[in-house]
Every structure is written in C-alpha cells, then in structure tokens.
C-alpha cells in the first residue's frame, strides 16, 4: 500500500464543511448550506472509492506524540466502512436538506453533520489507537451536539448530556486498553500490534484483559446492555441524526472496533462467551422494549439496539466478516426505516405518537413502499438484505452451539414482530390523527428510493456458500481482518437452517400482521406497560448509581470544607488543646466526622491499592 496524501483529504473535506458552515453558515443560508455539506460528503465518498480501487492507502505523521504516530490506513475493512459511512451519509445529508427545511439552525445542523462524518472517518481510518480515539470521542461530541440540537428544551439537553456521560464510561475502557497495550507491547499502532500479538511472548490472561477493556469501550458506543440506556433518549435529536448516527453508523463503531481487534479476541473463550451473552441480552432487551413503545422513533431506536445485539453475537462467535456484513445491510434498511419514519413525522407536522398515525399507505404511497421494504428487510424476509446477513449470523451461531441458534432464532422472530408492528401501526388501518398528511418532496424521496434499492439487493454480496454463487464480501473482508478458518456446516444442515429461518420469518411476519391489527389482549397490555419503561432500567440506574453518586458528591463537598476546618483545628492544636475543645463545641462536629471518615477511606484505600 502506498503512502498517499489524498487519504487525509478524505477526512479533510467534511472537516472543511464543518469549519466553513460553522463560521459562515448563516451567510450561506438555506438550501446552499445543505447542498455544500452533502457534496463534500459525496466528494469524500468518491475519493475514498478511487483510493480503495487502487488497493488502499496509508498516511503517517511520525512521532505525533513520543512513540505514537498519527497514522491512517485504508484497507478493505476500513474501506467497506468508509463506503457505508460516506455513501449512506451522503443520502441522509440530502434527505435532511428537505427535512430540516425552515429550521432556524439549518446551517448549524449541517456543520455538526459534517463534523460527525469527519470524526467517523478518523475513527474508521485510524491505524494508531489514539487516532481512533480522536474519532471515537469526536463522534461522541457530534452526537452530543446533535442530540441536544434543540437545546432550549430541557429534555433534549438532558438526553444529550446523558449520552455523553454514559459513553464516557465506555471511553474509560478504551483508555485503559491503550494503557495496557502500551505497557505490554510498547506500541499503539494497530498494524504493529497484529505482528506483536502473533509473535507471542506475553501472558494470555493480560491479553484477555486488554480485549475486555476494548469490549467496555464497544459496549458504551454500541449501546449494549448494560450501557444501553442512552440510545433511546438520543431520539431527542432531529430524525436525520437518529438515522445517520444512532442507527446506521456511529453505534456500529463498537462492533467495528471489536472486528478491527479480532486478532486480540480470537480464540479467547472467556471473551467469546461474554460478547455472545451481552449480544443476546441486548438483542432480546431491544426487541422486547420496541414492542411496547408508542413513539415512532423510540420503536425504531430499540430495534436498532436489537440488531446491534445481533452484530455482537456475530463477533462473539467469531464471524467477524458477518458482523461487518450485517453493519452494511443494517445501515441500508435501518436508515430507510428511520427516514421513512421521518417522512411520516414530516407529513404529519411533527407528530411522533403512532397512536395518532395509521392508514398512511393511502396518503403517502411512495413512503409506504419504502416502509414496506424496510419492514421486510428488517424482519428477515427472503431474499431481502436483512435475511442474508441475519442468516449468516444464525449459521455461525449453530456452529457455536445449537442452543445459541435456537435463542437467536427466537430473537429473529421478535425482529419480525417489531418490524411488522411498526408497519401496521403506521401504515395500516385507518388514519387516527387530525393532520393533513402530504407526501415528502423529491429531495426526501430520492434518497429513500436508493436506500430501498440497497435494502432489497445489498444482501446478494454475501450469499451463503451452499448457494453456488460467488460470496464477494467474505474473501474481501478477511484479507483485512485476518483469516480465522472455521468448519463449514454440511450442505444439508445449512439448507435446513436457511429453510427454517426463512419459513419462521414469514410466519412471524404474517402472525404479527394479523395480531397487531386487533385490540391488544390484557396480557399484552401488561407487558407493554413494562416495555414502555424499558423494563425500568433508567429507574434502576437512578436509584442504584446516579442518585448515590450525586449524594456522595454533596457529602464530599461538605467534607472538603471540613478539611479546611481540620487544618484550622490542627493550628489550634498547636495553640493549645483548650481552643480545640472549644471548637468542638461550636457545632463543627460533623465536619470532623466527615474528615475522620475521609481519613479512614484514605488509609484503607492506600493499604489496598499500594
């Protein structure tokens, strides 16, 4: 691969858009600001494609920090991600030109949107972990700014802050991973780490710990259980943000990070089990929560959680290329699902409650078609995109253990159900609201047409081996990820699995289609009440973590004042014991107690940690 100065330019284009729109956006105005931002992303896409077709590229600035280069690497893995981020990103940019029409913060929106793309590209292309981390936190910042885009409403600002803080828990994992890898290998360049890990001469337990730290980071960014609580609230941002950041690209960064470090994870039974468990929990949690939501965007947000769980399971069972394949298909159908939702919201003048929707197939024929395809792709109907990637995950799960296959099949039944529920509530039945629905303008329809094409067809790049047709993506990706051979299932088994999952998906879609048109039975109402609250995860965290932490902050603040009194007391002690006793009577006792407690904690802490 060649050193190529054009590679930083791929990042530079959207970064330029961020700067220009941030400084002069108001003068550029609508719609030029939106088109400028979109075209810069398209430029990035084209440039990235050219470089990728030339076989990739590298760019390095040596000794950016002592011993740490600033290096970028465009290989097949980062290339696929780059295509998704800039390609789907471009379409969502264009769609947003229509959606954000008339917003007073129009240029500011596109400025942040370009910042996001730039940061995401840094994350993807970074070959040195600190560089990846720049992108990692950069997308976090963009996400924070965009969730809180309408920050004059308190709930939006709160959601943005929550997302940032929860993500920082994951970031701590990332930081510790860097500390550990540095102390083990003395380098943070991913391409050098690959060699060093292969060379051996270290403790495998320590390497497991490094993988565990990376996993913490991935859990935060990809909103896996137990750090999933920020993603549903992130829907406070404008819908294009939800589609781009909180469905198609940023939330998959955790999966990408793990796949990038497959050489650390692979063959580690503990990590594999942990990742599978987390993925499964998230897949079920997201799916069940989605079935109880009334806000159209929260429905889709929870479906995203569920699909991210699928990707984690794929990583856990060692199906790294499949995880990326699922990122690709998911980017298409989930972006389509979000933007269809957005078109409906747009058509209804901002209404987000599905109880005030229904019957949209009559009013919005084109959008209805998009919604139908998104539903089928997400529900796993043969031969749409979602089916092939999900089926590949199921096949690998079966190799891991038939029990896992059964559980994952259950999760995909739920996936079919939540997809069709969304569809039925929005498009079927009679319109229950009072607005006057109108179809979206062309600038919003065309991106969805293209995404619909993707949701229909992109699955064909990764057909299972039993279908005697070329699988393009597997050999392409394994070149970059590393080839981890696995035993292929016998042809007959694979066919049977495909048939079962295809039939089950159709059955679930059909059953759901009938079920969600009826009046809900009592048991479902009860389930729905709990699911609507996300099974009380927020309440639980507030009680167990957030409120105690705040309380401790108050206590420590009081204690810190007491510290000064403590020093003053020390001075008085010099002056004479009498004045100290007098002080004790002035009511400062609780400060002393706080000080005492602090001293105890300190002593204990030092004893344990030294």
């Amino acid at each position: 691969m060649l050193e190529n100065l054009l590679l930083p330019l791929v990042i530079g284009l959207p970064l330029l858009g961020f700067a220009v729109l941030g400084l002069f956006g108001r003068r550029i105005g609508e719609p030029a600001a939106g088109w400028l931002a979109s075209l810069l992303v398209l430029g990035s896409f084209c440039l990235g494609l050219v470089l990728l077709l030339q076989g990739g590229a590298r760019w390095t600035l040596a000794e950016w920090l002592p011993g740490i280069p600033f290096s970028l690497n465009l290989d097949n893995l980062s290339g696929v991600m780059l295509m998704v981020v800039t390609g789907v990103g471009f379409l969502i940019h264009v769609w947003a030109i229509g959606y954000m029409h008339g917003d007073p913060g129009y240029s500011r929106f596109f400025s942040y949107f370009n910042l996001f793309i730039a940061a995401m590209l840094v994350l993807i292309l970074g070959d040195s972990l600190p560089v990846v981390f720049i992108g990692w936190e950069g997308v976090g910042l963009a996400s924070y700014l965009l969730i809180g885009f309408w920050y004059h409403e308190r709930v939006n600002a709160d959601s943005a802050r929550k997302a940032f803080i929860v993500n920082r828990i994951g970031d701590l994992g990332f930081l510790l991973a860097m500390g550990l890898l540095w102390s083990m290998f003395g380098t943070l360049s991913i391409s050098e780490l690959v060699d060093k890990v292969e060379a051996g001469g270290y403790s495998f337990t320590t390497l497991t710990l490094a993988g565990f730290f990376l996993l913490i980071g991935a859990i935060g960014k990809s909103a896996q259980v137990p750090l999933m609580v920020w993603l549903p609230d992130a829907m406070a941002g404008p819908t294009p943000v939800s589609a781009l950041i909180h469905a198609a690209t940023m939330v998959t960064a955790g999966v990408y990070l793990l796949v990038r470090h497959a050489f650390i994870l692979h063959g580690d039974g503990f990590l594999a089990g942990l990742i599978v468990a987390i993925g499964l929990l998230t897949a079920y949690y997201g799916a069940l929560c989605s079935l109880g939501q009334w806000d159209i965007k929260r429905i889709v947000a929870y479906t995203t959680l569920s699909q991210l769980g699928f990707m984690f399971v794929a990583v856990g069972v060692g199906a790294y290329w499949v995880a990326i394949f699922h990122i690709v298909t998911h980017a298409f159908f989930k972006a389509l699902m979000f933007m269809t939702s957005g078109s409906v919201i747009h058509a209804l003048g901002g209404e987000q409650d599905v109880r005030q929707m229904g019957g949209m197939r009559k009013y919005l024929p084109a959008t209805h078609l998009h919604g139908l395809v998104a539903t089928f792709a997400s529900g796993g109907l043969v031969p749409l995109a979602g089916f092939w990637s999900k089926d590949a995950i199921l096949a690998y799960a079966f190799e891991f253990g038939p029990w896992l296959w059964v559980l994952m099949l259950g999760a995909s039944v739920l996936a079919a159900l939540y997809s069709i529920r969304w569809y039925v509530l929005v498009f079927w039945g009679e319109y229950r609201g009072k607005a006057h629905p109108h179809e979206s303008p062309a600038v919003m329809l065309w991106p969805n047409h293209i995404l619909m094409g993707g949701a229909l067809g992109v699955g064909f790049i990764g057909l299972p081996y039993v279908i005697d047709y070329k699988n393009f993506i597997e050999p392409y990706l394994t070149k970059a990820i590393g080839d981890f051979p696995h035993e292929k299932l016998p042809v007959l088994t694979e066919w049977v699995l495909i048939a079962i999952s295809a039939v089950v998906a159709v059955a679930a879609l059909w059953w759901g289609f009938r079920f969600f048109q009826q009046k809900m039975p009592a048991w479902y109402e009860r389930f729905q009440a709990a699911a609507l609250q996300g099974f009380y995860a927020d309440a639980l965290y507030n009680t167990l973590l957030v409120n105690p932490a705040k309380g401790l902050a108050e206590l420590l603040f009081g204690g810190d004042k007491g510290l000064l009194s403590g020093f003053a007391g020390l001075g008085s002690l010099m002056g004479g014991l009498g004045s100290l006793l007098a002080r004790l009577e002035t009511g400062a006792l609780r400060f002393y107690l706080a000080g005492l407690l602090l001293a105890l904690v300190l002593l204990l802490g030092w004893g344990v940690l030294r």
């Binding site: 920090l65 002592p66 011993g67 981390f133 924070y144 600002a157 701590l172 510790l176 000064l564 030092w606």
Partner: protein
Amino acid sequence: MIHLGLWLPLLAGLLLLILPGLGRTFAVASAVVSLVISCVLFAGYGGQGVAYASQIPFLPEAGVYYALGLDGAGLFLWVAVNLVVLLGVWIADVPVRFLAYALMMQTGLLGIFAAQDLIFFYFFFEATLIPALLMLWFYGGPERLRAIYIFALFTLVGSLPMLAAIFAVRFLGGADSFLYTDLAANPLTGQTAALAFLGFLVALAVKTPLFPLHAWLPSFHQQNHPSGLADAMGTLYKVGIFAFFKWAIPLMPEGFREWQGLLLFLAAFGAIYAAWVAFSAPDWKTLLAYAGVSHMGIGALGLFSGNTEGTVGALYLLGASMIYGSAMFLFVGLVYGRTGSLEINPVRGLAKHTPALYVLGMFLLMAMIGLPGLSGFPGELMALLGAYKVSPWLTFVAFLAVIAAAAYALTAFQKLFQESAQAQAVPDLNAREWGFAAVTVAVLLLMGLYPKLFTVYLEPLGKAIAALLGGAS
C-alpha cells in the same frame, strides 16, 4: 534576551503603577513583547539541554549565583505563561493597577521556570506570592481576609520546610554552590534524602495542588476578582509539578523513591476526589478550582510514575491546563460581565443571545474535559500510558475522573447556556472579546492536533528522569 524577557514585565508593571495613565494599551504592549521574546527563544532552541544559560556571582561566598537558563520544559512554560498573561491583560475588565500587579507576577513566574540556582528559585517561588496577595487584598470579594489568611498560611508554612530542605540538600549533599548543576551532581542519599524530600513535598504539594493540601484553593478562587484575571494568574502559579520535575526529583531521587507510593496514591485519589466534589460546586469558580485540582492530580500521577511517557504527559498537561484553565477563568469573567453572577443555578439559557460566547465556552469546556483533538488530551494520554506501567489500579481510580469530568462540566454548561430562561437579552462578543476567543481556540486546536511541536523538546527531559530513576521504576 533571557534577562530582558524575565525582567521586562516587572519593569512595565512598576512603571504602570507609577504612571497609571499609560493604561491598558501599555500593559498589552508589554505582554506582546514578552510573548514575542519567548517565541523567539523557543524558535531558537536547539532541542537539547539548558539553553540561554548565564550565571553571575551574586553571593559567591555563600554559593549563590544569579543563574538563568531554559530547558525544553522551561521554554514551553514560558510561552504558556506569556500567552496567558497577554490574554488576561487583553480581556479582563479591571483597573490599571490590577494589570500592573499581574505583570509583576509574570516576572516571578518566569523566574521560577528559568532559575538555575536553588536560592533564586526559592526567591521567585516566594516573591510571586506578593502580587498574588495584593490582587486578592485590593480587588477580592467580601470574605477576602479569610482567603488571604488561608492562602498565605498554606504557602508560607509550606515553604519553611522547603527552605530547611534546601540547605540540607546543599550542605549535607556536599555541593559547592546552589547551582542546579552542582546540586544535581551531589544528590542526597538514604534517610537524609527522604527527609529533605519531605520538606520539598509539603511546599510543592500546596502549589501542585495535591490532595489534601489543595484546601486553600477554593476560597482563593471564590474571593478573587470576578474578572478572572487573578484566577488566571493563580492558575499559572500552580507550579508544583514543574518544581517536582526540575528540583525535587533530580536532587533527591532516593528520597523520591521513598515517597513515590504515597505520592502516586495522593495524586490518583485527588484526581477522582476533586472531580467528584466539583459536581456539587455552587458556582463556576469553585467548580474550576476543583477541576484544576483534578487535572493536576492526573498530571502528578504521570510525573510520579517516573518514566518518560508520564513525565512528558505531566509537563504537557501542566502547560495545556495553564492555558485552558486560565482561559476558562477569563471566560467565566466574560459571563460575569453579562449576568452579574457566577452562580451555576438557576438556568440562564444564554446561548440564544450569545452564540459566539457559547461556541467559545464549548471549546474551552471540551479542552478541559480532555476531548481528543483539543489541548487537554495529549497530556492526559501520555500520563495514562506512563501511570499504567507503574500502577494499573491507581490509573483506573484516577481516570474515573474522565467520567466525573463529563458530569460536572456538562451539567454546569447546560444550565449556563442551554434550556430556556426568562432572561433579558445580553450582548454577544465584542471585537476585543472576539480576538480573545480566536486566539484561545486556535491555541487549543494547535496543542491538541500537533502536540509534536512541544513534545519533541519534552521527550529528552522525560528520558533523563527515567534514566535517573532507573528505567520504568
């Protein structure tokens, strides 16, 4: 030129006291010249050792020399100090005499970083206190007497053991003079070193500040003038990390080893403790005071790791936090100028009226909480890489502050700028404030994106410390 760079601010400050009619323009001109001098010195630095060295016998019989010189760290911090002073006198809305004190303090600070003789170091270290106290005395808040009392007591009482230790270092170590080169060639050993180091430790922990000797800082900031100029100067006065690096550790490496475990623990504990406390701060200055303690805890953790990465990280974070920390205080001064209050509650919703101020605040805040790409991150990362080698557990404890920092900073920021409040309209940045904002943001970005500019000069110093302490310790 080094002499001019050192004494010019003091002269300018004295002149300004005598002729207040010269006004702010004169103070700004002096600060610009200082900054240009330090940039020229920086650009002319060869990359190795102490440059621009000069020594004149002062009390040769006692072994005291007027000796100056700048190594990579000294130059880096000279640039940082001069930049902050320029920003401060440029933006702060204060009487001319106030500016004069700030300039006088500048000389003291530059002297601390340039001194190559321990007695002169001590002189600058103490003399800097005088203008700081004057600013607090003349322009402080209603409870300034108590703040002065606490500040002076901590500083002076803390310094006495250091003075004793200074004599111990020379006479028990057997050096011919107080020159750095002499002293470093005759390091103390054994129990003596441990005791002498303790003397330095007390004084320097006050100025780092290191838990629990940070207790003077909150009242110091709370009572200083709301413009933030005195706070900015006070932030520059947090020279503990530098002094540990330049004097205490090289002169008493064995002493340092004795205390290393405790120091690492105090640094790590202070980092998370202060960040946690900051969440409950009722006003911006208290919040920034604790935030500063937290960041210096991270920096100190890096330095006390005793390896190359940690030392580079500590010094970089020191310089970076001087700039973003000071600029944050000056920024809060701008907020005070508009709202007349520094309280974090109630919600103010300023962003609607002041989008440019909002953006400036966002940059500063993100730099402060260590967002990669801005100036706070490179130092934090290097400190982490160094500290992890020595103590993974303490690193984990200290870097919990990363989460806490997001919590305290974003919560306060939200109340100041976001949500909606029934506030009357306030003006956005004026031309002078735009200048401040542009320079600040440019420096935050430069230091975040191209740390190499400074770290190439810090790395040899880090290697020297690591070699002195015997590898990764």
